[in-house]
Amino acid sequence: MEPRTVRMIALGFFALALALGALQQAPAEDAKTSYPSMAPLDQYLIADRNAEIALARTAAPSSISRNAKVMVLGPHGYETAADGNNGFVCMVERAWMNPFDSPEFWNPKNRSPICLNPPAARTVLPITLMRTRLVLAGKSKEEVKQSVKAALEKKELPALEAGAMSYMMSKDAYLTDKGGHNMAHLMFYMPLGTVWGANLVDSSNNVSEPFPGSPLLLAPSYKGNPEPIDMFLMETGMWSDGTAAQ
């Protein structure tokens, strides 16, 4: 499978993971890496389509992902590469699903396998598809953000459904340049302002702990900027293949 070279979520996610002790301390040089603009398209693509399908499926236990629809990234956006029959959709997200102000927004090494449950497939996936389509059309970060904002205002993007969640338990994910690059976790998509007692991370990698001891983290993604979604993370402690995640 080609992308063992696969790489990384947001700097914020690293911070979240670090807060949980899930990732190792980052080498100092990692912090200096930055991605001021989009890299050549090829760097975001996975040459072997079957490798991308397989990588996407590693986001969730095979009992779920084997019957999921799978989408892979093409030059103009995501394409359906395998039909599913359980309502889940698996794909490999790229760095532009980070917050718009994330230093790693254009990190071409990012490979973030995710399997979305049916409500998320209906109401969160359209955001991913739209952001991706705009990025691959050469839009700037600000243009992407404004287009998503306009689409939300015109209700061209669906309202978040209750119970939307996703699995991100791939051992082969590359979520950030920092630390161990990865964290096995679930994500829950909630309306803005949902009170779950979660600790907070901003997209500049600052962690604040209003609730020390909470197993929940509020990711920096979305958060009304512009998508009206609070995305909570919960570490699973095990990878999708059943092995322990440290």
Partner: protein
Amino acid sequence: MNPKRFAAIVSMPLALIFILGVAPLGRAQDSGPLYERMAPIDQYLMTDRNTEIAFARTAAPESISRDAEVLVLGRHGYETVVKGKNGWVCVVERSWMAPFDDPEFLNPDQRVPLCLNPPAARTHLPLTIKTTEFAMAGQSKSQMFDSIKAAYDKKELPLPEPGAMCYMMSKQQYFSRKVGNADPHLMFWFPQKDNLSWGAEFPGSPIDVHEYSPQPITEFDISVSKWSDGTPAPVTSGAQ
């Protein structure tokens, strides 16, 4: 609450329960047919109100529970004994909040602290309060089943609001003879009509699910790695 997958991790937690005096174990019922009917009410009560308050707060990290409202069980139902200021409510549930088909539905030893977030306090706590009132009024299990069903049918009880969830991370929690204090976990509630799929109970999934009856509620449970006091929980088959 749905502790069915949780590993049985019994000896130390039981010792802790004894130390804290929160769950008097080893009653006369233990030698006969178990929990077929309600035990004397005193067996469900905790004699020391401050102990019950402290116990309820152990459901969540102190950073959450210290500002929560706290309810304790009296002879006729739950009473508010501490006003909160963060919208959360902590309470020690008793065995009748287990599914009706749980063989320990009337186990007087069960003590399960929860801290409910604001949506759950508005829409799940009423179920706890109502069920407990029925139990304390002496209703049989089948009467309680009918009463709860009627309450939902008449819309006297609300369906879970979006985002309703709770913390159950007390090291001293005691579910049953079978699972002891189980493991720390979070619970998330939805209306059954939502027909949600979280991939729960699939091999390798860290999520459990329970469909209640007659309560039209779907409950997802996810284990966490630490108790509310920050100490690590034993590894189970769930998320750690």
